[in-house]
Symmetry: C2
Subunit: 238 residues, 2 copies
DNA sequence: TTGATCTTTATGTATAGACATATTAGAACG
DNA sequence: CGTTCTAATATGTCTATACATAAAGATCAA
């Protein structure tokens, strides 16, 4: 177990979440009032409150004034998907990573692109096509649009040496993102770029990124079907 | 904006996360000490501490004793993937939902199943194969193993009327889950069940579920490629 | 120079008390 | 009987204070 004695509010939190996760306290069950826990643990209300507030923030319990705190009913499975840098993914496989720029052009967003990317039509972008290799094998095809209004520096970057993903992380602050994940059959371009037959299953991850409500970039990553899986974990605590 | 005046610690939290998200405070930047914020906001240290502790818990800042608090460098994009009940997904498309049990047997976990599912070998399970329909079209193929040691009630449930997903939510407490998402070519069984040609691209979502460290269930959901996409959102704060 | 020890400092945890606020059960009233 | 008001109560927020603890820096000794 824990050699280092956990803090008191952490112990309270662990005790309660343990009872919920084990099913001893089913959804809807009213957990003891703060003043009851105060007595049970011989501590002040602030300490109990810290534990319960945290449980409420993570969604394990729900608090109602004047009424008490209740175990929540799990609704939808909310899983946390960690989306890593491609270099990191490749190196985690123990393979040498190589990046290669295929095309780069500065132009306006086309009609159809606007539709798939969610970027407004006619804005100026840098359009990139890149390949990521794991060893000799192509690992991922990247098609990207970068909004020059949001990231003017992108105009003077060639992206010959550095991949746009890591470059953007250094040039744009934290941002909101939306990911769409789906399976498609490889079209001619993807088949050629990934060295797979046309029609083979591919995993596509599309990401739209905003910073301060302004669209920053749209990227479509295409992985050869069997070569890549996304993993998402859900654990109510820690 | 907010009509209801936010609490003070929430305002402090919003101010700081705003400065981080806008890029005003880049990764690595040391944010003011607690005693400085105490003066700036004219409040007690506990209030500032509550805001900073929460920012640290969500990973936006990192706290170092004797040194201060620092804006963290975004490592990987962590996106929240909402995985809904299949009925909900289908009805969100405006289509009538239908569930159908295909096979149900009680048996031990096989060698190969143990490998893919992560369930220990030789434990007793209920093995199910089910279909979910959106209108007339097959929408999703579900293959599931339920650990009878963890969920003894599953032995006496036929699953003819209710799908195992919703049934389990009512019979198992809060749990941890791991999702794996990938694209594969449809094998013969999937092609038949989904009404698509062999080799067509399919999206596979596999979920392993535990409750209190005991494996509960393994499920593989196979969607016809174009018919389904997963969406994950990332917003660092609220 | 190196290593051990002390000091300082910012965060980590906890307390006891205070007042605010939402909500509900019950009382009073029409 | 339904409605309105009131009092009770659990949570929400905040303060002022206290001591613990980890770690950076300074000091001193080998």
């Amino acid at each position: 177990m824990n050699v280092r004695p956990a803090s008191l509010h952490q112990r309270i939190l662990d005790d309660i979440s343990g009872r919920i996760l084990s099913g001893a306290w089913p959804p809807g069950h009213r957990i003891p009032f703060e003043h009851e826990l105060t007595e049970e643990y011989g501590c002040s209300r602030m300490t109990v409150n810290k534990a319960l507030s945290e449980l409420a923030r993570t969604g394990l319990i729900e608090r109602r004034r004047r009424s008490g705190s209740y175990v929540t009913r799990p609704r939808s499975q909310a899983a946390v998907l960690e989306i890593h840098d491609i270099r990191t993914e490749v190196e985690a496989l123990g393979l040498p990573y190589r990046y290669q720029l295929v095309t780069r052009e500065k132009r306006a967003v086309s009609d159809t692109e606007s539709e798939t990317s969610g970027l407004p039509e006619d804005i100026k972008v840098v359009a990139l096509e890149c390949q990521h290799f794991a060893g000799k094998q192509p690992f991922c095809l990247e098609e990207r649009l970068i909004n020059l209004a949001a990231v003017p520096d992108a105009a003077s970057e060639t992206f010959a040496e550095i991949a746009p993903g890591p470059w953007l992380i250094g040039h744009v602050p934290w941002s909101a993102a939306e990911h769409t994940i789906r399976a498609v059959a490889a079209d001619a371009r993807a088949a050629k770029a990934l060295g797979i037959p046309r029609g083979a299953a591919c995993l596509i991850v599309e990401r739209r990124t905003w910073s301060a409500d302004e669209p920053v970039t749209f990227v479509r990553l295409t992985y050869a079907g069997e070569s890549h899986a996304l993993v998402a974990r859900f654990a109510p605590q820690r």
